[in-house]
Symmetry: C2
Subunit: 122 residues, 2 copies
DNA sequence: AATCTAATTTACGTTAACGTAAAGGTAATC
DNA sequence: GATTACCTTTACGTTAACGTAAATTAGATT
């Protein structure tokens, strides 16, 4: 049940909250990463849209391209359909998982090196 | 003590080992991320250069820009000099550490979401 | 001597992710 | 009714990180 009285946000509200420019948000929309409603010509963002924006920004922080983020979002949105399709999705998920595990390792290594460096500086 | 008989590598050797193009390696050199020796006009990479290349690639995997990687490398290379300089370095290290911790969190969140999604697909 | 093979430099091209005007619409406020 | 605030679209500009092609060099092989 979607509450029609649910709180909504304007583009500048969101841009301020997440410290990005409206231009970026519009860009994400152009890239089909988010699809706000319109009231007249103005974009209106629901809580769901806000969550999606957070997801986008989280993706960016771990170095995903917008194309990769779109892929992930598409996975979320895909209706549990064909068996063949599902297989493909599971494959992609596994690939992502591997990349993320690698990243975890890389981060751990880098953190250690930073600590070493810090010691050396004292 | 640097062993002058130490094993060295050509640019294509390294490019094959790490599955990148020679162009990329030359580009990193242009950006002052690596400085191989020359024998005649040809680049010759020592083991140390190889390690540095690995560091670069690791940085890339966690989403660092070449500029950020250069900053980190510079920190490594900086001789423990002025007290003021050292303070600045320690600051930068701390900043990096914070960003990396954030990334760890983001990755954990993403991994969880992937798992949820996987469950949903079954 | 000619032909590979692997390297070099120079330089223009490409893609992603926005930045940055410019020109205009609408609704509230002075 | 004019200004202000906030939004819109269109479109060209910018930066990073290489890709790609052209012209050249130098050593090894046929």
């Amino acid at each position: 049940m979607q509450n029609p009285n649910e709180k909504t946000y304007s583009i500048t509200e969101l841009s301020k909250e997440f410290e990005i420019t409206p231009r970026s948000i519009r860009h994400y929309e152009q890239e089909s990463l988010i699809s706000p409603k319109r009231v007249g010509s103005q974009r209106v963002y629901t809580k769901g849209d806000r969550v999606r924006l957070q997801l986008i920004l989280r993706g960016k922080r771990i170095g995903f391209s917008l194309a990769e983020i779109r892929e992930i979002i598409t996975m979320y949105d895909s209706p549990s359909g064909e068996k063949k399709q599902t297989e493909l999705l599971l494959d992609k998920i596994e690939q992502r998982r591997q990349a993320l595990k690698q990243q975890q390792q890389d981060i751990l290594t880098t953190l250690k090196e930073l600590t070493e460096l810090e010691q050396r500086l004292k």
